[in-house]
């Protein structure tokens, strides 16, 4: 059992954390929502809604535990089988796809369970006649000291990180091995080499630049998001959202810096032969683990839209607005009359887009094109 098996162990822990986050989701949402359905705040104490949330959490726990058991079993079986069988590319690819499926299982299960309990809540909503005669909305006209996301200028911190990685590459280039290991199989064997060239050294820097673009885009998205203000308690919810958005933007910045520094530096060191690729992957895996632990912590402390920052306030029994008709399948927002492109998601922590806005589609397509261009550019540069 070598480095790659520790890596697989790490993947299992990541799945456990993802499962935990999914299982907690209904408890972290805003009080006016239950399984992506708008309900009066006082209805959150309704025994049926509470039992739906308990059942959802229990089901998610079971799915996660089964998923982990299957993945751990597969790793144990692979560990006891001869190394040669793992070097077989077919076995390795089955293993890789199995790992991807195992990682996605909690999210897929969470979505399906949400859809199920969403229809249950909708039935209760019809039965109880919870509806709104109004469609209130609130917004800042003068922001004063209300907190908000940190300035985009903080992203300049990426510049020294990228420069330092480039400097390591320039200094280490003369002592770089030829050929350079580029890809490693599950058994720790190097499956791909590239011949020594400046392009190989530039690869980690390019990855960092790509990460930089992605993280800055996410930060900008937070700045441009609709600021959801609860019309029933505008000032308090505006402050709670401000605190939430600030914390999320700081978290995003810290994660981005950690990831780009970690990925860039370890890739650079491994292509210079100072680290094995397995060790580099382990470092990145540990970083991802730290980030997920942080994300779970953030979710529990703040909740979606700062819902948990103001959770002790008393509950209102009326609905002041109901935009359920714009949320397709509970999580996809489609509202042509809403000028906002980015807004908070309905089930889960974080932001989503208004799919009725062409700008949202342009950005989705732009992201895919950017990713493709990056991958093709790297292949061209490294000459694989």
């Amino acid at each position: 059992m070598g480095g790659p098996f520790y890596l697989m162990g790490l993947v299992v822990v990541l799945v456990a954390l993802t499962g935990a986050l999914c299982a907690l989701t209904p408890w972290l949402m805003r009080k006016q929502e239950c399984f992506a359905v708008t309900v009066p705040e006082s209805a959150q104490r309704d025994a049926r809604l509470v039992s739906f949330k308990h059942r959802y959490t229990a089901a998610m726990a079971v799915v996660t535990v089964v998923d982990i058991a299957v993945m751990a079993g597969a790793i144990a079986a692979a560990g006891s089988s001869p190394m040669q069988s793992l070097s077989d590319p077919r076995v390795a690819s089955v293993f890789a796809w199995g790992a991807v499926a195992g990682c996605l299982a909690p999210a897929v299960a969470s979505f399906c369970l949400m859809l199920h309990y969403r229809s249950c809540v909708q039935a209760i909503k019809r039965e109880e006649g919870w509806s709104s005669q109004r469609a209130e909305a609130a917004a800042f006209v003068f922001e004063g000291d209300v907190p908000g996301p940190v300035s985009l200028a903080w992203n300049l911190l990426y510049v020294p990180v990228i420069c330092a990685t480039a400097a390591i590459g320039v200094v280490g280039y003369p002592s770089m091995p030829d050929p350079v290991p580029m890809h490693v199989g599950f058994a720790g064997n190097v499956t791909d080499y590239a011949s020594k060239s400046p392009g190989v050294v530039a690869f980690p820097v390019l990855v960092q630049v790509f990460l930089f673009v992605c993280f800055v885009f996410c930060h900008w998205q937070i700045m441009r998001s609709k600021r959801p203000i609860d019309p029933a308690r505008p000032a308090t919810s505006a402050l709670a959202y401000g605190v939430f958005a600030r914390a999320q933007s700081v978290f995003l910045l810290v994660v981005g810096l950690l990831m780009s520094a970690g990925i860039g530096a370890t890739f650079m060191m491994s292509s210079l032969g100072w680290l094995s690729l397995g060790q580099a992957a382990l470092v990145v895996g540990v970083l991802v683990l730290l980030v997920l632990v942080g994300a779970v912590g953030m979710a529990v402390v703040y909740g979606q839209s700062g819902a948990r920052v103001m959770r002790r306030l008393e509950e209102s029994g009326e609905l002041r607005a109901d935009d359920d008709e714009h949320w397709k399948l509970g999580i996809l927002y489609w509202n042509p009359d809403d000028a906002s492109v980015f807004l908070l998601g309905r089930f889960g922590i974080g932001w989503t887009v208004n799919l009725a806005r062409p700008a949202a589609w342009a950005m989705l397509v732009g992201f895919v094109v950017l990713t493709e261009a990056f991958v093709l550019g790297v292949y061209a540069l490294v000459g694989l």
């Binding site: 005669q133 109004r134 469609a135 209130e136 909305a137 609130a138 917004a139 800042f140 006209v141 003068f142 922001e143 004063g144 000291d145 209300v146 907190p147 441009r224 998001s225 609709k226 600021r227 203000i229 019309p231 029933a232 308690r233 505008p234 000032a235 308090t236 505006a238 402050l239 709670a240 401000g242 605190v243 920052v309 103001m310 959770r311 002790r312 306030l313 008393e314 209102s316 607005a321 935009d323 509202n335 009359d337 809403d338 000028a339 906002s340 492109v341 807004l343």
Partner: protein
Amino acid sequence: MIIRIDKMAESPIYLQIRDQIIVAIAQGSLLPGDGLPSVRSLAADLGVNLHTVNKAYAVLRDEGYVIMRGRSGAFVAEPLREVSPDRAVQAREQLAERLLHLAQEHKAAGGSVDDFVAEARRQAEAVYADPGVAGARRDIGVLGLDPQGERLVCDDAVVRAQAPGRAAFAGESSTPNSACAIPASPSGAAPKLRQ
């Protein structure tokens, strides 16, 4: 400063936005030179069309409450009467015209002169007696609520109803520290809203 609208109310949304910004200026919550949010960001926050906010800002600009400066956005204008004698005359004419309409309606509905003057005086005094929060330190106020802090006021009586209702958020200061203190003080902002 937070404004509230009701998209299902009879009064058009752009008028609700206009009325509430005028109230904010009257109360000193918005001072001359203060920037208003960009059309895009206000429309996004309220979840309405860009054209709706554009129209509200255009009306405010035409009425002289707001100046628009190309890409840098909208700003609260100097009070009309302080800008120039011409504008002062213009503002006086506008006031006279509106009072004329109100007086005609009042008479048509069978009201007396004394009632009209007394009511006008009472409303004007209420507006001018409201100290507002002019100055460097501002509180978050919530516009568009009736005096009980319960419901939206969507008719043209916003200005009248607002004066006493302003107390809803008195004392809630909006420093970053108070934001962090929300969980510790459940008796803070929201319960006052819903007395």
